[in-house]
Symmetry: C2
């Protein structure tokens, strides 16, 4: 790996650049972003140089797409004439099926591997980037078939994921999108819907405990982040919402009965199971 | 106020006893609980003595019912022949309409004032009791009419609430139960239902972020705490669930459209508004 082009030098793209450098990467890191972001990224020594998309794509062994999903999709329709045939294009988008379809359709001259790092923080932008962002965090890669993982280009990329401390998870794109519909997109919509429902009462009564703050923290997420996710995973999200609606309808029927015992027990089991995984992650 | 009887010397009852003492109460505090709890409460100097319900009720100026709601209801059917006519009975149950109805029906010889301290912690039992538990926390009282607040007995109780640092909120029982159906009971059921829905996916995929942990923390709440709440506020909870279901149905229809912008904006407004209240509380 000699030359990496980061498209979208924000929190994720900038952190990937810093993580590579921190892990010993000696090659060149080119940024493709707005002029102001490139200026800041250069000042912070996150990238070595800025370039336009065509120039960066034509030089890079690894093209790392870290923009919002809609920009990744747009970029995938343009890259093909520019890329080297021995390059690898990968991305960090939060949904994978649509992105993978776009890559299959438009990017024919080099390999593509979809990715989704489960890393983030409260703040965004290149100023928030840090080399440890991926340390101990899951990093999903979504090959279209098992052989895609066996090329030298992907082998090199995966070894760098290991070196930056990411915990690799291999899934197909459909399985990824179905999983995050339940584990990420449904919780977001559950929080948003709860906050919207609360608007129908008078919140001036101001009688609530800390549980409500937990349950509405995600409701502060900006729509700018979620718009593309909702649009590119709407089928799976509708399924997850349907499952949630079915459970809530059942609760409405049995809320005052002993049947709720089993629901609470099942819910507590699942919640504790998630925390088992989490502490496993924390220990790594 | 000379003699206080605490029925149910757990986290809330025990903390009320400690808070009174900490605030300068010089009288006697009698505990009514299981033999083992009384033993522990005496060892921890939370109460001055233990007694059976009849003996404690016949001595007390203030009878503080801090048991689970179903035990409070049972107690209200028994207290009337035992209480002094100048006593005040109050409670700390999380729902208020059913308790207030029981008091109106069964407790005729002395005054009753419903209460709900919005205080708590992760652990329960008298060993977790602490004198600062009510400090800066809302304490809802639910008189049946405004005059009930003007008696000497209630005046004395309210002045002690002030002295233990609680922030008094006056609401009627129906308004209280409707409010907490949205601010407490709905968030609980939203978390429980989310965890139940997640059981339908394979959680072994283990791909999730910190948002899911926020949204499933309440799902670990024990049913033993919630059973009585769900049974004594089922009508308001069904209404809140219906409101939530309506919003979620709408989300399912418009999830991939620009209509979601307004939903996210409204939700973020409400979530920030709640946090404004919270930081106001924290500053107190």
């Amino acid at each position: 790996l000699n030359t990496v082009a980061i498209f979208g030098v924000g929190l994720i793209g900038g952190s990937f650049a810093l993580a590579l450098r921190h892990a010993g990467f000696q090659g060149s890191i080119i940024g493709v972003s707005s002029a102001s972001t490139i200026e800041r990224a250069l000042a912070l020594r996150v990238i070595d140089s800025g370039a336009d998309a065509e120039s960066a794509a034509s030089q890079a062994d690894l093209i790392y797409l870290a923009q919002p999903i809609s920009e990744i999709l747009n970029c995938l329709t343009q890259l093909n004439p520019w890329v080297r045939s021995d390059a690898l294009v990968t991305d960090a988008g939060s949904t994978k099926s649509t992105i993978t379809e776009y890559a299959s359709r438009h990017l024919r001259r080099c390999q593509f591997l979809g990715g989704h790092p489960l890393a983030g923080k409260e703040t965004t932008g290149v100023s928030s980037a840090e080399p440890q962002l991926f340390q101990g965090r899951k990093y999903v890669v979504t090959p279209r078939n098992a052989e895609e993982l066996n090329t030298p280009e992907v082998g090199s990329f995966l070894s760098w994921l290991d070196r930056i401390g990411a915990v690799r998870v291999v899934m197909d794109a459909a399985q990824h999108d179905r999983t995050v519909a339940y584990t990420s997109h449904l919780p977001q919509l559950a929080a948003t819907a709860l906050a919207v429902s609360l608007k129908s009462t008078d919140p001036n009564t101001n009688v609530f405990g800390p549980g409500l703050l937990d349950m509405t923290r995600l409701a502060m997420s900006p729509f700018s982040v979620w718009k593309d996710i909702l649009q590119t995973n709407s089928r799976e999200i509708r399924d997850a919402l349907e499952s949630y609606l079915t459970v809530l309808h059942h609760f409405k029927e049995v809320v005052a009965t002993e049947d709720m015992q089993r629901e609470f027990d099942n819910a507590a089991d699942l919640a504790r199971q998630l925390r088992g995984y989490k502490s496993f992650l924390d220990e790594k």
